[in-house]
C-alpha cells in the first residue's frame, strides 16, 4: 500500500524534475534565464514611467508611477501566468508516457515557474523604485500578500480550465485570445475605480482583477481607500474557480492523457 507521505514525495520529485526541465528548455537562447525577468520588468517599467512622465503627480494620493506599476503587475501576472498554464497540458503531452507524470504536474509546474519569475520581477521593481527615490512603506503587507497569492491561485485555476477545455475543443484557444484583449482596459490598470461614476461600477466590479488591483493599491497606501471592492469577493471567486477547475480535472484527467 502506498502511503500519503510516499505519494507526496513522488509528486514533489516529479514536479521538481519538470521544473528543472522547463528551466533548461525554456531559456536556452543567448539571453538565458535573465530574459524571463527583464522582459516583463521592462514592459511594466517603461509603460509606467512613460505614463508618469506625460503627466506626473498623484492619483488619489498614490504617485502615478506606483499606481501604474501595481495595475500592470497585477494584470501581467494574470495574463502571462494564465497563458503559460493553459498551454502546459498540451505542451507536456509526450511526457505522460511516464505514468508518474500527470497533466496536473505540468499545470502546477508551469504555474510555479511563472510565479517564481514574477517574484523576481517584483524584486527588480523594488530595486527600480529605490533607485528612483520613490520608496514607500507598504501600509498593510499581509493584505498585499494575501491578494497576490489569491490572484495566483485564480490565475492557475482559470489557466487549467482553459487548458482542459482546449484539449477537447481546440478552438477555445482562439476564444481565449479574444477574451484577453479587453482585460487591459477594464481591469482598472490605467484608471481608478474612483474615477468612474458610481452608477457604472457594476460594469467593472464583476471582474476579480479589478478587486485584486484596487485592493493592492489600498494595501500599499491606506489613504487610497477601498470603495467598491472587497477581499471577500476576490477570495470567493478564487475558491469557486479553483473548485471548478479541480472538479473538471478530476473527471477528465484520464481522457486528457489520450488526447
Amino acid at each position: 500500500m502506498i502511503t500519503v507521505r510516499e505519494q507526496l514525495h513522488a509528486w514533489k520529485r516529479v514536479i521538481f524534475a519538470l521544473f528543472l526541465r522547463e528551466l533548461q528548455s525554456k531559456f536556452n537562447d543567448k539571453f538565458g534565464l535573465s530574459w524571463a525577468f527583464v522582459e516583463p520588468f521592462v514592459f511594466v517599467f517603461v509603460l509606467s514611467f512613460a505614463r508618469s512622465f506625460v503627466s506626473g503627480g498623484d492619483v488619489h494620493s498614490i504617485p502615478l508611477f506606483v499606481f501604474m506599476m501595481i495595475g500592470l503587475m497585477g494584470l501581467q501576472s494574470f495574463l502571462t501566468g494564465m497563458g503559460a498554464v493553459s498551454n502546459s497540458i498540451k505542451k507536456n503531452k509526450p511526457l505522460y508516457a511516464f505514468r508518474q507524470v500527470h497533466p496536473i504536474s505540468a499545470v502546477l509546474t508551469s504555474g510555479l515557474l511563472e510565479f517564481t519569475i514574477k517574484l523576481g520581477v517584483l524584486v527588480l521593481m523594488a530595486l527600480a523604485l529605490f533607485l528612483l527615490h520613490q520608496t514607500f512603506a507598504i501600509a498593510n503587507p499581509l493584505l498585499l500578500i494575501t491578494i497576490y497569492l489569491s490572484l495566483w491561485i485564480l490565475t492557475i485555476s482559470v489557466g487549467m480550465l482553459f487548458a482542459i477545455a482546449a484539449s477537447f475543443v481546440a478552438e477555445v484557444d482562439k476564444v481565449k485570445a479574444m477574451l484577453q484583449r479587453p482585460l487591459l482596459f477594464i481591469s482598472c490598470v490605467f484608471f481608478s475605480l474612483q474615477d468612474i461614476p458610481e452608477q457604472y461600477w457594476h460594469w467593472f466590479t464583476w471582474n476579480p482583477l479589478v478587486h485584486a488591483i484596487e485592493l493592492a493599491r489600498y494595501a500599499c497606501f491606506e489613504t487610497y481607500g477601498n470603495n467598491g471592492v472587497s477581499l471577500n469577493y476576490l477570495i470567493g471567486v478564487t475558491i469557486v474557480t479553483l473548485f471548478f477547475s479541480l472538479a473538471a480535472y478530476h473527471i477528465t484527467w484520464k481522457r486528457l492523457l489520450a488526447r
Binding site: 520529485r13 526541465r21 536556452n28 508516457a97 511516464f98 505514468r99 508518474q100 492523457l257
Partner: protein, 216 residues
C-alpha cells in the same frame, strides 16, 4: 502476470466511438519475453500503452504487482533542446533512481555516445537517440520492460549489446515488445500474444504465434 479484467477501450471519432477492446478478460504472461503481434490498427500500441499506464481504459482494470518501465519508444520523454545528459537526469529523477551521478555514468557508457552526451539531442541521429532512450531504460531496474521498436534503428553492434543486456535482465525480469519486424521479435522474444478482433491469444511458442499471424 498481468491481469486484465473487464477492460473496454474506445477512441472517439467522427463516426462515434471506435471500440478496440470490449469486456476483455485475459491473463497476460510475463514469465518470459513476450511479443505483441497484430495488424495495423488492431490495438497493439493501445494495449501496450495501457499496460504501461500511460493511458487508461474506459472501463475495467489492469492489475499487476510488477514494476513496469515506461513504454520505451523513440521519442518518449526526450527533449530535443536539452543535452543527452540533462535528458538522462530528468528520466532518472522522475523514476527515483538512487544515485543520479552513477546512473548518468552507466547510461553514458551503455549508450556509447562519448562526448556527444553533452550535446543537445536535436543534433543526434535517430540511431543515437534510440541508443540513449534504450540505455536510460535498461539502467533502471524494472520487473517488466516495455519496448516499442526502439532498438530497431541501432547498428548491429548495439543490437547485439541490447540483446545481451535484455538476456541478462531476462533472468530477473520480463520483456514485452511491440514491433513489426519479425527478425527483431525472433531475436528477443520467446512467446507471443496475438491481437485479433479485440481478443487476445497467447502462444507459448513464438513460431506458432507468428505462423497464425502470417496466415491471416
Amino acid at each position: 502476470m498481468i491481469r486484465i479484467s473487464n477492460l473496454t477501450k474506445s477512441y472517439p471519432s467522427q463516426l462515434g466511438p471506435q471500440y478496440i477492446f470490449r469486456d476483455l478478460n485475459f491473463d497476460f504472461p510475463t514469465e518470459n519475453n513476450v511479443a505483441i503481434l497484430g495488424k495495423n490498427g488492431a490495438g497493439k500500441s493501445t494495449l501496450f500503452r495501457m499496460l504501461a499506464k500511460s493511458e487508461y481504459p474506459d472501463r475495467g482494470r489492469i492489475i499487476t504487482n510488477r514494476s513496469m518501465s515506461w513504454p520505451v519508444a523513440l521519442q518518449t520523454g526526450i527533449h530535443p533542446q536539452m543535452t543527452g545528459r540533462e535528458n538522462t537526469r530528468f528520466i532518472g529523477r522522475i523514476n527515483n533512481v538512487k544515485s543520479l551521478r552513477q546512473y548518468e555514468k552507466r547510461v553514458q557508457e551503455f549508450a556509447e555516445l562519448g562526448g556527444k552526451f553533452d550535446l543537445p539531442v536535436k543534433n543526434y541521429s535517430s540511431g543515437m537517440r534510440a541508443k540513449l532512450v534504450f540505455a536510460c531504460c535498461m539502467n533502471i531496474d524494472f520487473d517488466i520492460y516495455l519496448i516499442d521498436e526502439a532498438t530497431s534503428v541501432g547498428d548491429p553492434t548495439f543490437r547485439r549489446k541490447a540483446k545481451l543486456a535484455l538476456a541478462e535482465k531476462a533472468k530477473s525480469a520480463g520483456v514485452i515488445m511491440v514491433s513489426h519486424e519479425l527478425d527483431q521479435i525472433r531475436e528477443f522474444c520467446h512467446s507471443a500474444v496475438l491481437i485479433e478482433n479485440g481478443q487476445l491469444h497467447y502462444y507459448p511458442d513464438l513460431e506458432e504465434g507468428i505462423k497464425v499471424y502470417m496466415a491471416d
